[in-house]
């Protein structure tokens, strides 16, 4: 306050800079609305030069086949709708450095030969797809051979009522794409919610993928990716991931994947990966794993699943520590005797041992595989005798004198009390709140 003139100078300078930048922006802006110079998005996009902004105002634009050939920003204001009326692909990106933001894109018909999508990117880098709503399309967002991609806060909703798996496309489909961020999207009603094939060094965070016909998340050959804080819910076959190493899956929720061949998480040939702090709730099978080695399962909660973990004998050197197993019909089931996996310090609600020295660790080892679960694995119809008194009797006899269940599949130090992961959950809440604040754009 001692020197007011200094303040005035600073403020004027600021205002000047602001004016300049806004002038520059106006200079490169092509407006589209019903009364503007451009009345169709296509016309404006074809006229736009590198660095321009195509600003589309609210309203419905019945067009398709929009091709972006310049590095521009295509931005929707007041939620404009681009309605393809089932006449083909809506937006094709044929340039690097493109942003598409704030549109509702709808009605792309099923096309088996062209794989039409709402937004298609082919061999372009540095693309940003933000805050769009994509409704009733064959594929939602389809990228191939692209790098440095941000797909954020989109809502993709397909219509799968009365359709078969093969007549549906994926909501987010990525093929040979590196360095991708898929964040905060809500995808549903497609074949696969998020489909990644050979996608590396990427992040998949805070997405919700639900009610898809097949998988909520499906990836293969996609090394070094991080999946955190996602929710996969009520998908036809849950989540299936294959042929990948070095995956980090943390703080995800897999729930309500019910059905004959539905898995919370199916791991096939996943190696050297970390699966921490996830919740598996009310799935027919929480985790089904085969040929997956050197995985680290820690701090996960398995609640009320049919089978918490189906551990095939092809899995070796997997570690299960500090997990909670509560209310599952079967904790672990396996298909053979050979076991080379390591269980320690888990909490099992079926554990009936005691703790004389009061160190919180049961004095008697716990064998999570029951005789009956082995029988059900071999002869599925015997599931009809679940909760029969005879079955309980046999299980208890086997527990006292194990002869058929795998000798080596044992938790030598089971915990007496359920591990409280709630502290972590609170931490998650904080993470979510900070993350839902405007994302610092790269």
């Amino acid at each position: 306050m001692r020197n007011p003139s200094k303040h005035i100078i600073i403020w004027t300078a600021c205002a000047f800079v602001l004016l300049l930048t806004s002038l520059q922006a106006v200079g490169g802006t092509l407006k589209v609305c019903s009364t503007c110079e451009y009345r169709s998005v296509k016309a404006a996009v074809s006229k736009a030069k590198a660095g321009d902004v195509v600003l589309v105002d609210g309203g419905t634009y019945k067009e398709s086949g929009i091709e972006i050939t310049q590095p521009i920003r295509l931005i929707g204001q007041n939620n404009p709708v681009i309605d393809g009326q089932n006449s083909g692909q809506l937006i094709t990106v044929a340039s690097d450095n493109v942003t598409i933001q704030g549109f509702t894109l709808q009605n792309v018909a099923t096309s088996y030969t062209r794989d039409d999508a709402a937004i298609r990117v082919r061999q372009q880098n540095n693309i940003r797809i933000l805050n769009n709503t994509i409704l009733k399309t064959y594929y939602g967002i389809y990228l191939q051979y692209a790098d440095s991609i941000v797909i954020k806060d989109n809502v993709i909703k397909g219509e799968n009522l009365g359709k078969t798996e093969s007549s549906l496309g994926n909501a987010i489909h990525l093929y040979y794409t590196d360095d991708v961020q898929i964040i905060g999207n809500d995808v549903q009603g497609h074949r696969d919610g998020i489909y990644l094939e050979t996608v590396k060094n990427s992040k998949v965070q805070r997405n919700t993928s639900h009610q898809n016909m097949r998988y909520g998340l499906h990836f293969m050959f996609s090394d070094n990716n991080v999946y955190t804080h996602n929710t996969f819910q009520k998908n036809g076959a849950g989540v299936a991931v294959m042929y990948t190493t070095n995956v980090h899956m943390e703080y995800n929720t897999f729930e309500d994947n019910w059905g004959a061949a539905s898995y919370g998480l199916l791991l096939k040939e996943i190696n050297n990966s970390f699966i921490h702090n996830n919740i598996f709730r009310r799935n027919t099978t929480g985790i089904h794993m085969e040929s997956s080695s050197r995985l680290d399962f820690k701090n996960n909660d398995f609640e009320r699943n049919g089978w918490a973990i189906k551990l095939m004998t092809t899995c070796i050197d997997d570690t299960f520590r500090l997990n909670n197993f509560t209310g599952n019909s079967f904790d672990i089931s396996t298909n053979g005797n050979a076991q080379h996996n390591y269980f320690e310090h888990n909490y099992w609600d079926k554990y009936t041992g005691y703790d004389l020295d009061k160190d919180g660790i049961g004095d008697v080892p716990y064998r999570p595989v029951s005789l009956y679960s082995m029988l059900v694995e071999q002869v599925p119809p015997s599931i009809m005798f679940m909760r029969s008194f005879m079955v309980d009797l046999l299980d208890n006899m086997e527990k006292v004198m194990p002869s058929i269940i795998p000798q080596t599949l044992v938790d030598e130090q089971p915990l007496m009390k359920k591990i409280d992961h709630d502290n972590n959950r609170e931490f998650v809440q904080v993470l979510r709140q900070t993350a839902s604040a405007p994302w610092r754009e790269r």
Binding site: G259, G306, S388, M390
Partner: protein, 255 residues
């Protein structure tokens, strides 16, 4: 006939065993619902209890009652009353009093803590099992005049249906595991009313979704109106067949 049933009922209530049975069921059901936490869990524990104790108590009580009221029946036979009427009155008197005990002991807690279709199935199953095991008890009683032998046969029957049968079927399933056994298993469960009741309640509970492919198959059968209808029809058969056989034996027999 109504008069005879009335006398039988009066006799049973006076013996106070049924009252004790009612209280026992009531205490157990309320206890289980309060312990279990969720209603589903309570129903599951209750199911196991119902399938184990209800048949046992029904069959033992009905057998002892039959032998104890032998003199009363002899008295009635000397009157101008048809034997079939006497027998059916005895049967209805016992099974109605036991089902009433069950309805009060389990039905009311279920209605309070877990109302719904599954609870209804549980209560219906319990009532059917009472009727079935009273019928089996009467069958055991008409086979032999020796009370000890009769109770022995009744206990064997309970042991068979509650325990041995499941063991045998599991053994069969294990031995023939290489064959498609889905429908064979279905037929085998129909041959044991206890299993049939258990499966019916279980498949209508939340957990049914957890039972994988085969579970889903059975759920599609038992979840439909058709499946439930057929299951209850089989339970009715399970009441009628032993009852009619024992009635025939009772009529023809030299008392």
């Amino acid at each position: 006939m109504n008069k005879i049933i009335k006398y039988v009922l009066y006799d049973i209530v006076r013996s106070k065993i049924v009252v004790a049975y009612t209280l026992f069921l009531l205490l157990l059901s309320i206890g289980l619902f309060n312990l279990g936490g969720s209603a589903d869990k309570g129903l599951l524990s209750l199911l196991n209890l119902v399938l184990l104790t209800v048949p046992l108590i029904s069959i033992v009580f009905a057998t002892t009652h039959f032998y104890n009221s032998y003199e009363f029946m002899e008295l009635l036979v000397s009157q101008p009353i048809r034997r079939s009427k006497i027998f059916l009155s005895e049967y209805l008197g016992v099974s109605l009093s036991l089902s009433a005990a069950f309805l009060i002991g389990v039905g009311i807690p279920v209605l309070l803590f877990a109302p719904g279709a599954t609870g209804l199935y549980l209560v219906l199953t319990g009532v059917f099992i009472t009727f079935i095991f009273v019928a089996l008890a009467f069958l055991a009683s008409v086979i032999t005049r020796d009370k000890a032998k009769g109770i022995g046969i009744a206990l064997m029957l309970w042991f068979y249906f509650a325990l041995i049968y499941d063991g045998i079927v599991l053994f069969i399933l294990y031995s023939f595991g290489d064959y498609p056994l889905e429908y064979a298993t279905l037929a085998l469960t129909a041959l044991n009313p206890v299993d049939l009741g258990r499966v019916m309640v279980l498949l209508n509970l939340d957990v049914s979704a957890m039972m994988g492919y085969t579970g889903a198959l059975y759920k599609s059968i038992f979840g439909s109106g058709w499946g439930v209808g057929i299951a209850f029809l089989i339970l009715v058969l399970w009441v009628l067949v032993p009852l009619l056989i024992s009635r025939r034996a009772f009529i023809k027999r030299d008392l």
